[in-house]
């Protein structure tokens, strides 16, 4: 194993956090740097102390691993974070290309496999992947398991929510626990799992409360905070840190709403974010807010929860219910109708002026763009901008190109608002 890159990345993240924290005024931003760094520090500690690590794809419940005293680490997002922290995009992507992963698949997974080819990723005791998200999600975990010669488990996910699907998925979580018990010799601590899920239910309640608060005009939350919340939810699900994050963000947002102040001083445009923006930097969103008063006030893909509640007393069913109700999973699995209807509802409830779809290179979810764009235009009366970009590769499209497109769109939206007010 070559841990040097991981250790360097965590060190860079720690340095960045110490550099940024004294300047940060938002309690949410401060908490993000602290908790995000702490997540990777925990994994580093596990590596040095020889604790057993469970590597898992997004949407696999980390609550299970915490309850079995393992240290969970997200595969694709942690590899991505390590690359962002060390800026080794080229090395990671060329490595995966050399291994046979072509450019016609998502760069997040190409980077992930680069990390596994080079042995940069912490050696896990097991890998758990899931048929959620997209084909690359469900397929790349197997390649990682091959590369590390590591036992893996695939969680099968029903196509869409139903009573039958809920039971099937709950049973799948049960089989995952059996697998972990068999591979590690550990036993599930069911009381601890229930406690973890109770925290998850609280995190979910706070997440929903924040979503409600964001309907306020002006919007009380920064664009970047939404994506931070999405990641914090999945890396810290079921933990005190997760509850802490959502409490801090809720308090900050609620305080602003009560005082009638917005996240930015001069909000002019309220935007809907329809898909994952480039994850290597959120400066684009900061620039839109600062220079044009254009703020993403909702992200239907990560900020619209389904209505059903999570009941911790039945832990496996609770985890299955969370899967079906959580944003992202309910948008990109199942029929696109839910995603479209959610987005239309958001436009109305959040008083949205325009939407942006980030068309990520090689992402086959882009098959939904036309339907979303037409539905938002016909049923909600707003235009949608499609920005071609790459989720993790900063060289695919330059920031300047994206800025130019966004600038033109902002001008069009501003003119529409002027016309409407006349």
């Amino acid at each position: 194993m070559d841990h040097s890159l991981w250790l360097k990345a965590v060190k860079n993240l720690e340095d960045l956090t110490s550099h940024v924290l004294p300047k940060v005024t938002s309690s949410g931003e401060k908490a993000y740097y602290e908790l995000y760094t702490a997540y990777f520090q925990k994994v580093t500690q596990a590596m040095t102390e020889g604790k057993e690590i469970a590597a898992h794809s997004t949407f696999v419940p980390p609550e299970i691993f915490h309850a079995m005293d393992m240290v969970p680490v997200l595969i694709v997002s942690s590899s991505g974070a390590m690359t962002v922290c060390t800026r080794n995009y080229k090395d990671a992507m060329e490595t995966s290309r050399g291994y046979g992963v072509p450019l016609e698949t998502c760069s997040a997974h190409r980077i992930q496999l680069g990390h596994f080819v080079k042995d940069w990723f912490p050696k896990p005791k097991l890998i758990v992947h899931m048929g959620a998200g997209c084909d690359a999600f469900s397929s790349s975990g197997g390649v990682s398991a091959d590369l590390y010669d590591c036992p893996d488990f695939y969680l099968d996910v029903p196509w869409e929510y139903s009573e039958r699907g809920l039971k099937y998925l709950a049973d799948e979580f049960g089989r995952l626990i059996e697998f972990v018990e068999k591979v590690t010799g550990r036993k599930m601590d069911w009381n601890r799992l229930k406690e973890n899920i109770a925290r998850t239910a609280e995190m979910t309640r706070l997440y929903r409360e924040i979503a409600e608060l964001r309907k306020a005009v002006p919007s009380p939350m920064e664009s970047r905070r939404a994506w931070q919340s999405y990641w914090m939810y999945w890396i810290n699900a079921g933990t005190p840190e997760g509850v802490k994050w959502f409490t801090i963000v809720r308090d900050e947002v609620k305080g602003r709403v009560e005082k009638g102040i917005g996240a930015i001083p001069n909000e002019k445009l309220r935007l809907l974010d329809l898909f994952m923006p480039p994850q290597f930097s959120f400066r684009l969103q900061d620039w839109m807010a600062k220079d044009y008063g254009a703020l993403f006030v909702n992200e239907s893909i990560v900020f619209q929860w389904g209505e059903e509640e999570i009941d911790p007393s039945n832990p496996l069913e609770a985890l299955a219910m969370r899967y079906f109700m959580a944003p992202m999973t309910r948008c990109i699995m199942g029929s696109s109708k839910d995603f479209i209807n959610d987005s239309i509802k958001v436009v109305r409830e959040y008083k949205i002026d325009g939407a942006v779809f980030w068309a990520q290179n090689a992402c086959r979810q882009s098959g939904i763009i036309r339907s979303l764009k037409d539905a938002l235009s016909e049923q909600a009366g707003i235009p949608t901008l499609v920005v071609d970009c790459d989720i993790m590769d900063p060289t695919f499209v330059t920031v300047e190109e994206m800025q130019q497109k966004l600038k033109d769109f902002i001008e069009i939206l501003s003119e529409r608002i002027v016309r409407r007010s006349n």
Partner: protein, 385 residues
């Protein structure tokens, strides 16, 4: 090649009539309903038992401009799916009484979405299929299939009886048994059928009633058995990858001095090798459920090792010297599958070649050059023993 297979002509004729071939026209003329589907796990037997003609939708056997489809599906939806929709948008699939899919991959899911939104057929049907073949998955899928049967009965106002299901199973199994006889001929030292010809046969199977198809296939096998066509000792190849319909692609590979003796294509061996149980004591819906979860695994199924072992076994049975995988751009399931499968082939000393394609491409230009080098490398290996 010393002899031409005359019995191949009816298949070729039907294929030239794509996408509204005469057997489909005849079916419609007699008042029959037609459902077009995409995704490799649609239980055609159930559609057939409902009195419906299932048609496996595809694009043209050539690379064509996708201007109309591109307006609805982003280029990251593979050109296979966009080619199907291109034909639909031109109105050439307007004869369909229904469209059906499964969540086979992101491409089929999103194609179904746009089809349903922009040009819904009178019946739009969707069936979930699990990715596993555990007993729990079987119970889950059985219920999915039961529900699907009920919806089909509602749409077509027809009861699907056990007897009709058993009859459909027998008919579709007959196709599979015949294909297994054809595959056996391909295991011989001098296979009497070319890989490109087998693609013609696969294509026709998707566009006509199975009973009629079975007659044609039986005729072809009888002729092929008696034929003495192939001289040779040329490299024996297996083809793999995204569903493939252009015989010219395979012909291009064979024209370079090889013969394609086997495939693990979704529209080929993956669908035509295994049989559904015909046991009279087994509930036919349960037999269908088990078949679709346990048949020759597609890349979407886990554990993947079952698929890899199956393909490696085939390579051994068919005396394969090399494998060529054609991956249509952005076909994520096959991209990742090929990475893992090729490493297992190489571990057995069987070389493999991946070709990044657009749907409908023939083996021309760069592809030809790469295949030629691959074939020469295999010949060299064979010479050296």
């Amino acid at each position: 090649m010393s002899q031409i297979l005359k019995t191949l002509d009816p298949f070729k004729k039907i294929n030239t009539e794509f996408p509204f071939a005469s057997p489909i026209k005849d079916w419609k003329k007699s008042g029959g309903k037609v459902i077009g589907f995409f995704g490799g796990d649609v239980p055609e037997e159930i559609l057939s038992a409902a009195g419906v003609l299932p048609i496996w939708l595809r694009g043209p056997c050539s690379e064509v401009p996708l201007d109309a489809a591109n307006a609805y599906l982003h280029m990251y939806s593979c050109s296979h799916m966009r080619s199907i929709f291109e034909i639909a948008l031109k109105g050439d699939y307007s004869y369909l009484d229904g469209v059906m899919s499964t969540p086979y991959c992101d491409g089929t899911r999103r194609l179904y979405d746009v089809w349903e939104r922009y040009m819904p057929a009178p019946a739009m049907l969707f069936l979930h299929t699990p990715h596993k073949n555990t007993s729990e998955a079987e119970a889950f899928h059985y219920q999915n299939i039961e529900e699907f049967v009920e919806s089909l009965e509602r749409v077509f106002q027809k009861k699907i009886t056990d007897e009709a299901l058993r009859e459909a199973i027998r008919t579709y199994n007959k196709t599979r048994k015949l294909f297994n006889r054809l595959f056996d001929l391909r295991k011989k030292n001098n296979p009497p059928v070319l890989g490109s010809e087998v693609i013609e046969i696969y294509n026709a199977s998707a566009m006509m009633p199975r009973k009629d198809f079975n007659i044609l296939l039986e005729n072809l096998i009888n002729e092929a058995k008696a034929a003495d066509r192939m001289p040779n000792n040329c490299p024996r190849l297996m083809i793999n990858g995204t569903a493939l319909h252009n015989p010219e692609y395979v012909k291009g590979i064979e024209d370079l001095g090889s013969i394609v003796v086997a495939d693990s294509l979704l529209n080929g061996a993956m669908s035509f090798t295994d049989l559904i149980s015909e046991d009279e004591n087994t509930d036919p819906l349960l037999a269908i459920t088990r078949y679709y979860l346990n048949k020759f695994p597609a890349p979407r199924m886990v554990p993947s090792e079952a698929r890899f072992n199956r393909i490696l076994e085939m390579a051994e049975q068919f005396h394969v010297d090399g494998m060529i995988t054609g991956v249509v751009r952005y076909c994520a399931p096959h991209i990742y599958d090929e990475i893992r499968l090729s490493k297992r082939f190489e571990a057995r000393g069987i070389p493999s070649l991946r070709l990044d394609l657009e749907y409908g491409m023939a083996a021309t230009g760069q592809i030809k050059t790469r295949v030629q080098a691959f074939v020469e490398m295999i010949e060299e290996r064979k010479r050296k023993g």
